[in-house]
């Protein structure tokens, strides 16, 4: 039983090629519904079997974290917020 599950997983992984895995994982967002989305399950599982792919994914996540930090510093005009609140 366990053997057949492993075999099925292996063949399923083989069906998804590396560029496709990368394409999928580029839109993966930790902490959202993506974590439990079957669409990403196979792609995430393949990281354990492929160190090169795992390293690429770590770098991708690191890049995302830097970009999120950079974008969080975009200035917001708080006077507009005050005007909206005063209007209420």
């Amino acid at each position: 039983m366990r053997h057949s599950t492993a075999k099925a997983l292996k063949s399923a992984l083989a069906a998804v090629d590396k560029p496709e895995i990368k394409r999928l994982l580029q839109s993966f967002r930790e902490g959202t519904q993506d974590t439990n989305d079957p669409l990403f399950s196979k792609a995430l599982a393949s990281l354990a079997a492929d160190p090169e792919l795992a390293a690429w994914f770590r770098a991708e996540q690191e890049f995302d974290a830097v970009m999120v930090k950079t974008f969080s510093t975009v200035p917001v005009d708080t006077l507009v917020k005050e005007r909206i609140l005063q209007g209420s």
Partner: protein, 190 residues
Amino acid sequence: MSISGSNENGKHDRLTRFDNLVEQNFATAYRFAFCLSLAHDRATRIVEATFDEAKALQETEAKVDKTWILQELHRKWRACHPAKYDTDGSEDYAAAGGISIRIEDVAQMDCAGVLKILHGMSPAHRLVLSLFYFEQLGHDEIARILELPAETVISRLAQAKVLLRQTLERGRRDASLHSESPEISAGRSG
């Protein structure tokens, strides 16, 4: 008297709900509007109009949340820019080279530099990136906001991220060339 008091309470509750909505979502709305419109005055206009509508909707007890606000901002911007919106971003991708910025270099870049590059991208790519990085949304929520199939969002995100890294690297190389002293540049050319 009791009816009047009840009405007053209802109005107060609606105002409190609206204040909470603004407090919780203003920064998100403003940043997204700025990313759409590329200018603070235009961002201000669509944000104010969207919150006005949100307030009116709340008075009818309709559900108004962050997704609705982002969808409405996007609809307002799209209504004013139908031609621009028709592009799918493939022109960006076709122009991209093979270079890609290293993580050490991207960490050195400031927000203004990154925004400038983002603003040079097509709306199709800029929108998915802004929702992914500003709002940290998953692909399914981005798809709901932009009213696109999830598969389209996944493909655009993958393209846009590759393109962003390539464009950041080109920008970094250009900046380092310009920051070289005239003597070095002259020495190289001579």
